[in-house]
């Protein structure tokens, strides 16, 4: 447990200069949250790079590589001019204590026992343990046709973070990665809290962060969901903020977070596409789209290495195996039954009911203001549902084993946007944007 805490602290420290290299103005909750996320993403890239050049992972080598990244990022950060106004860090509110209490409860949950979920020991933990014992990524393991059950095509940010924890501890433990999930969730909450404080009162921002706790803290311990919710949620919220303020540094943060989300799970890859399409949809004019879309290049650049390695090692993706189109056409006839089953198995139906009701209640201007988050979330859900129409597995089995997790992946940004819309509407505001975001 202590070694995991040291590893988490190390990741957060590693991320501080990276955050400041992207934006010297970052401070307070935003700096703390982004620092851990950048540290987590950076250590993934460090371990991936060491593996790519066949350098065996040892605590000394990984520490040296991380120190080099730290030094380079510090140098870049110190050369960065502080452009734009420095923002004051968000003021704390007594409600934040409730959020802290929820984080404490989640810490108790995350450290209850060795991670027990099937997907931990059959996918994410299995790969991490194999790589840890080998001292690097075991391509032979990933390429073996007998290991297809472990989804060799899934990106490796999460297993390599587990490996960093094991390297810090000096050995593998099924209990080791538990606290990482607390850190990922806490990082997202810090970012959401800081962003909310820029556009609403400390009370509402604190209430919003508290409401987001259960959505940000994944109960699926040992899986990639916790990290994907954190990176993906942060990425979408930062794109929303970048649209609000058109701030280049916020665009950079957003794109980098989306890039790391793509390295958590294939759904993160889809999220980049969903965000791109949503940006096109809200940009109206070709000039605006031309100005905004290139800002996402860091997301694509971060997603690219794993895609290249995946193709180079011919790692198969089960969902697109066989004839995707024929499966889709066959299942179109079952569409009413599939949709009914999805509705019946909807996780947190009260939450989604409240979201839909709220969207009907709030003024049209507020909905327009939040159309980026609404469209991006909608596109991502369409992607999820389409996957059920093309899956090579039995649809019911696939829905039962994944639908709750998938809807959980997209719930933070929409909850954030809807909560702020409702808070504004309950104060009698019409939801006019504070700056031109369309």
């Amino acid at each position: 447990m202590t070694s995991t805490l040291v590893a988490i602290l190390g990741l957060a420290l590693l991320g501080v200069p990276i955050t400041l290299a992207v934006d010297r103005r970052a401070r307070g909750a935003l700096l703390a949250g982004l620092s851990f996320l950048y540290g987590s993403g950076a250590i993934f890239l460090v371990l991936l790079a060491l593996s790519a050049v066949n350098v065996r992972w040892t605590p000394a080598i990984v520490a040296a590589a991380a120190l080099a990244v730290f030094a380079i990022a510090t140098t870049i950060a110190m050369r960065q001019p502080v452009t734009g106004g420095r923002r004051r860090a968000a003021r704390a509110h007594v409600i934040d204590l409730l959020t802290l209490a929820m984080l404490a409860c989640y810490s108790l949950y995350a450290t209850l026992a060795p991670l027990w979920e099937w997907d931990f020991w059959a996918i994410w933990g299995l790969k991490a343990k194999v790589f840890f014992e080998r001292g690097g990524i075991d391509w032979r393991f990933l390429e073996s046709r007998w290991n297809i059950f472990a989804h060799p095509d899934y990106p490796l940010l999460v297993p390599l973070n587990f490996d960093f924890v094991a390297l810090a501890a000096g050995g593998w433990s099924d209990r080791g990665p538990g606290l990482l999930f607390v850190a990922w969730g806490a990082a997202l909450l810090l970012v959401a809290r800081a962003l909310a404080a820029r556009e609403t009162s400390p009370l509402v921002a604190a209430l919003l962060a508290f409401a987001l706790t259960a959505l940000s803290l994944s109960l699926d311990l040992g899986l990639a969901e916790g990290a994907l919710i954190a990176f993906g949620g942060t990425g979408v919220l930062l794109v929303r903020e970048a649209l609000r303020e058109d701030d280049p540094a916020t665009w950079r943060h957003a794109a980098l977070m989306l890039g790391f989300a793509a390295n958590c799970k294939n759904e993160g890859m889809a999220l980049i596409a969903a965000v791109t399409l949503a940006l096109v949809a809200v940009s109206w004019s070709r000039e605006r789209a031309r100005a905004r879309l290139p800002r996402l290049w860091p997301a694509y650049a971060l997603a690219a290495p794993w895609l290249v390695l995946r193709i180079a090692h011919a790692l198969p993706t089960d969902i697109v195996g066989g004839s995707v189109i024929s499966r889709f056409m066959e299942r179109l006839g079952d569409a009413p039954e599939i949709f009914a089953f999805l509705a019946a198995r909807l996780h947190r139906p009260w939450f989604w009911g409240a979201i839909f009701a709220a969207l009907l209640i709030v003024p049209a201007a507020a909905r327009r203001r939040e159309r980026f988050v609404l469209i991006a979330t909608g596109i991502q859900i369409v992607v999820f549902v389409t996957a059920y129409f093309v899956t090579p597995y039995a649809v019911h089995w696939h829905v039962v084993t994944s639908w709750a997790r998938l809807t959980g992946q997209v719930s933070v940004p929409i909850a954030f946007a809807v909560f702020l819309m409702l808070a504004g509407s309950s104060r009698g505001e019409e939801g006019a944007p504070r700056s031109d975001s369309s």
Partner: protein, 142 residues
Amino acid sequence: VSPRRALSIVALAALAAACIEPRLLRMPFVDREASARELTAFPDRKWPQYPRFLEGVRDRTHPGDTVALIVPATEWYGGYSEMYFRASYLLTGREVLPLMDPQNAPAPENFAAARYVAAFGVTLPPPAEVVWQGEGGTLYRR
């Protein structure tokens, strides 16, 4: 208060309430030792001896060794895959080979390629060389 404002306040409260996760709220009050025992045993609840057997196999094999797996389940989705996946996790470093594929077709090439055979709940006929026996299974060398 306009109807929209009133509805917004109700919806805000409903949204906040819908976000609450009761499982987390219960955490400070659970019996941690009992929960830990239950969750630790959860992956192997159907075969409590199996992880101890695999631990024995791990102790007697080396990284890089190939181990074919024989278990009572005779169908991939009827238990074999689960025991194979579990063995892959608990025997990392060794190459664990299944003796059937997901379509239940035998994979004799894996038996031929294996240096060891780990048989849990099944006894192989002689002349296989027994390396170790215990915890409901036997490790054979080929």
